[in-house]
């Protein structure tokens, strides 16, 4: 095998979009392939876990792991890749902060299994069969990974050196991150490999953002004809720009849709949702309880809006399940 640096890709609880993002590098992927050996990439190459186990510890330069940690298998792979790689990179929103899968932290294993295997209208399960970690069939044992109660980000399972944010990370961000890693001039561990400023600061509509925003109510994108040049917050839309890291190239804004916050917060913010909640509540013009309540009714799903990609990485991490009295 050549002495090119080795890299590995792995996916945990994710949708496959991050794998697409790597392929989306298009011609640039040839530069990456010319510079490195890909030694493990289940979605594209036929290397097995045993191949990784056989490698020397620390022999992989960088392992890019996308997806949140939901099962015992994913946790095991995260630990394995941590051992084998010098640099472990959390790739994409799910590995970074929990991502969309972490919204399941508003429920627990029992509630999720009950919905998926019992109560959805399309489910036919008269015997009430539920997933088991081990079951015997004709004398053989069949096993499945265990399913945790809580979804975690990669750094809640093992130590992570760098983060590449985004759902999915954009080609520019990936190419920039790969160049940084190959250059050998590494930033401090724990760095998110994207600009450390809020999206608003590089927004093409920044000039139309009023100094003092004052909103009577919030609007959802389907309720109005969205002006293509005006600040989306000024139009009453819940744009996550003020509390979200820049670097995405303002793709959603340029598509005339509000930012949903996939790049996570900047380094100065601990809790993206908390910070955003603070910003938009102060923008409301209502001053009395009743008027404020009615304005807040314009946010039908506050947690799903403020923590769409970051519930696992938030200060509270999950909902505390309180028993419901029958």
């Amino acid at each position: 095998m050549s002495d090119k640096p080795k890299v590995a890709f792995y996916w945990c609880s994710s949708c496959g979009g991050c794998e697409e993002a790597v392929v989306d590098l298009a011609e640039q992927i040839l530069d990456v392939v010319a510079a490195v050996d890909i030694v493990f990439w289940p979605v594209a190459l036929d290397f097995k876990k045993a191949d990784v186990e056989a490698m020397e510890d620390g022999s992989i330069l960088a392992a890019f792991v996308n997806g949140a940690i939901r099962t015992t298998e994913q946790e095991e792979m995260a630990h394995l890749l941590r051992r084998k790689a010098k640099v472990l990179v959390a790739f994409g929103s799910c590995a970074h902060l929990g991502g969309i899968p972490a919204l399941a932290n508003l429920w627990d294993r029992e509630a999720i299994f009950a919905t998926v295997y019992r109560t959805t209208p399309s489910t036919v399960n008269p015997d009430g069969v539920m997933p088991q970690v081990a079951t015997s069939h004709n004398g053989d044992w069949v096993t499945l990974p265990g399913f945790y109660n809580t979804v975690r980000s990669l750094d809640q399972v093992t130590s992570v050196d760098y983060y590449i944010p985004g759902c999915a990370p954009t080609p520019n961000i990936i190419a920039g991150a790969v160049q940084t890693l190959l250059s050998g001039d590494l930033p401090p561990a724990g760095t998110v490999l994207a600009p450390d400023i809020a999206l608003c600061e590089e927004c093409p509509r920044l000039d139309t953002k009023p100094q003092d925003l004052s909103l009577e109510r919030f609007r959802r994108p389907h309720e109005i004809l969205i002006d293509e040049d005006t600040c989306l917050l000024a139009q009453g839309l819940l744009c996550m720009g003020p509390a979200t890291r820049a670097g995405c190239g303002q793709l959603c804004i340029r598509g005339n849709m509000p930012c949903t916050g996939c790049f996570g917060p900047t380094s100065k913010v601990h809790d993206q949702g908390g910070k955003y909640l603070s910003a938009i509540a102060s923008m409301l013009s209502a001053t009395e309880d009743v008027a404020i309540e009615s304005a807040l009714d314009g946010i039908p799903d506050p947690i799903g809006t403020f923590y769409r990609y970051g519930l696992a990485g938030s200060l509270l991490r999950r909902r505390t399940m309180t028993p419901v009295d029958a």
Partner: protein, 166 residues
């Protein structure tokens, strides 16, 4: 200053609710001062943090207090019309109402977070609010977040691992 006394964190004999109180510099903090100089007696369960204005209280402060073990958070500010910065308390109210929706959605009971307007002269209101909140929290019991703020401890993880692979 007396040494802080370690109180049991689990419910049961000897447990006392822990409250983090954010008081504005111009009204509620002065009310607490007045309560002290007037030698009023009230529940000693709050750790008071002085902020310049209730509008300075970032929702992250409240979340962090809960994540680090507070059983309740009390926010005290000036009455409407009295804000030293004119509208800080109005902002505080809006943030508080939205924050409460989020916290309730995260399984934290409504009684655990409270906003009160207490002027510099209302030491008796401060005493009553504090006593009332402690009584409610005592009835509610400790807040037991399912995930500790410092992340999953190794022991908790292994227990869960054994549970799901049993």
């Amino acid at each position: 200053m007396p040494e802080p006394i370690e109180v049991p964190q689990e419910s049961g004999a000897g447990w006392e609710p822990r409250i983090v109180a954010f008081f504005c510099n111009w009204c509620t903090y002065l009310a607490a001062d007045l309560a002290g100089t007037s030698r009023m007696k009230y529940a000693p369960n709050a750790r008071v943090i002085r902020v310049m204005c209730s509008g300075r209280i970032d929702p992250q402060f409240v979340m962090e207090a809960f994540a680090k073990g507070a059983d309740g958070v009390l926010i005290g500010g000036c009455h409407f019309g009295d804000c030293h910065y004119q509208s800080g308390n109005h902002k505080a109210l809006r943030r508080f109402m939205l924050l409460k929706r989020v916290l309730v959605g995260m399984g934290i009971e409504e009684e655990r977070i409270r906003l009160e307007w207490i002027s510099a002269a209302e030491a008796d209101k401060l005493r009553d609010v504090m006593n009332d909140m402690v009584a409610r929290l005592t009835a509610l019991g400790p807040l037991q977040l399912e995930v500790p703020a410092e992340g999953f401890t190794e022991a908790a993880r292994i227990t869960e691992l054994e549970e799901v692979t049993a």
